[in-house]
């Protein structure tokens, strides 16, 4: 895990004919973390999706060593299954051992919800279940989109501790949030509000 690294060079993103950001550079070595800050609609989520490979950048390159795990507002957990069953599907895809699910649930303090259907969970509990999915994946590069959304104070602190543990093990954390996060950042990238239309073809 310690040879993880993330290198963004000259990234630009165009959405709906509008340039959201351009010339974005970022380098994170193993154990590094960065926050992407900025107001709503400035392209924070789009940047994470570009890093994850789900969107094509308008310009620039993404170099990433190590598997990537993305936690965004979509939890990707089957509503009608229990938390454990929904996570088991992803563990099977990731070829992760089943014990990792229990460990992840305990880490996020939702072990007592393991046998509750996902659709019964509250917003914050669902967010924690989605974070548990990321823990199960055991990917070195974490992309967190508004990770503190819906989390109570203790859960946010628990997430901070998990991030610190992940970084100590050589992982990389790139988080997008308009709010200050519960863990120390190596650097913060402030995306500016989008400029007027007409700059991009």
């Amino acid at each position: 895990m310690s040879d993880a690294m993330l290198l963004l060079e000259g990234l630009a993103c165009v959405r709906g004919g509008r340039m959201l950001f351009a010339g974005l550079d970022l380098a994170l070595a193993a154990g590094g973390s960065a926050q992407i800050a900025g107001p709503n609609g400035v392209g924070k989520s789009s940047l994470l999706r570009i890093v994850a490979g789900l969107l094509r950048p308008y310009a620039g390159t993404v170099r990433c060593e190590g598997a990537v795990a993305l936690t965004d507002e979509l939890d990707a957990l089957d509503r009608e299954r229990t938390v454990r069953q929904a996570l088991t599907f992803w563990a099977r895809i990731d070829e992760a051992p089943a014990e990792r699910i229990d460990a992840a649930l305990a880490d996020l303090r939702i072990a007592h919800l393991a046998d509750i259907p996902v659709r019964m969970l509250s917003t914050g509990q669902r967010k924690r279940a989605a974070l548990a999915r990321t823990l199960v994946t055991a990917a070195p590069v974490w992309l967190l989109d508004e990770p503190a959304n819906g989390l109570d104070v203790e859960s946010a602190a628990a997430l901070g501790a998990l991030v610190d543990r992940h970084r100590a093990a050589g992982g990389i954390v790139l988080a997008a949030s308009h709010l200050p996060l519960a863990w120390a950042q190596d650097l913060t990238i402030e995306l500016r509000a989008p400029r007027d239309a007409g700059e991009a073809p």
Binding site: A52, G53, L54, L55, R56, A67, V68, A69, L70, D72, L74, D75, A76, L77, D78, R79, E80, F89, W90, R92, I93, D94, R133, T137
Partner: protein, 213 residues
């Protein structure tokens, strides 16, 4: 990974009505049809084979809005792509799961439905062979249209409009096999089916990729 997706989708299909749904659907149509056209045994035997084909086509359409869209909306497809699954493989896996959830139950239901419609044994045999060859094509068509319309609002009516014309070749040759005694018509069903099974993952995968942008 494809195996895990198939298992999951099959589980979802069976929990939400399951294999009984297409089975009951076909039997209900076969039971209602004599009320609509009258209990004339000759008429039923003549039209019954075609009716089974129409019923199979509609059964493949039944869950079409649940095939791709919920997984796109809840981020499952994003997460699968993130883990290295190609969009084509996802569509292929979902297509196989869709076929398994309605194809085999439909073939089972065709037996009692054939009896209800007073089909001759050889006609029923041709229908069964035709359905076995044609339903994979119908499943591929359904998953392709589901991928194309994922993310559109009010796509329910649109999916029907898209699927039904594209299903015409399978229907023509499948029902035609009944009139001209199988053989070459069944081979054409198999050919259409094969074409759709190959085209659906490619085109559907491209649609998913394009829909993400």
């Amino acid at each position: 990974m494809i195996g895990a997706i198939i298992l999951r989708d099959l589980g979802r299909a069976f929990r939400s009505g399951g294999a009984w749904l297409p089975l009951a659907f076909l039997l209900l149509i076969a039971a209602l049809f004599p009320f609509a056209v009258g209990p004339n045994a000759t008429l039923l035997a003549q039209t019954g084979g075609g009716l089974l084909w129409i019923a199979a086509l509609l059964a493949s359409l039944l869950p079409i809005d649940r095939l791709i869209e919920p997984d796109r909306e809840s981020g499952v497809i994003d997460q699968l792509v993130l883990r290295g699954a190609g969009e084509g493989s996802i569509v292929l896996a979902k297509g196989i799961a869709h076929w398994l959830s309605f194809g085999p139950p439909l073939l089972v239901a065709a037996l009692p439905a054939g009896a209800l419609l007073k089909l001759a044994p050889e006609t029923l045999q041709t229908v069964m062979i035709g359905l076995a060859l044609g339903t994979p094509g119908l499943a591929a068509l359904a998953i392709l249209v589901a991928a194309l319309t994922a993310g559109l609002r009010g796509s329910g009516a649109l999916t029907g409009l898209l699927v039904l014309p594209l299903a015409v070749p399978i229907l023509i040759f499948g029902a035609g096999a009944l009139q001209f005694g199988g053989g070459s018509a069944l081979k054409m069903v198999a050919a259409c089916s094969l074409f759709l099974c190959v085209a659906a993952p490619i085109a559907g995968g491209a649609a998913l990729r394009a829909g993400r942008e």
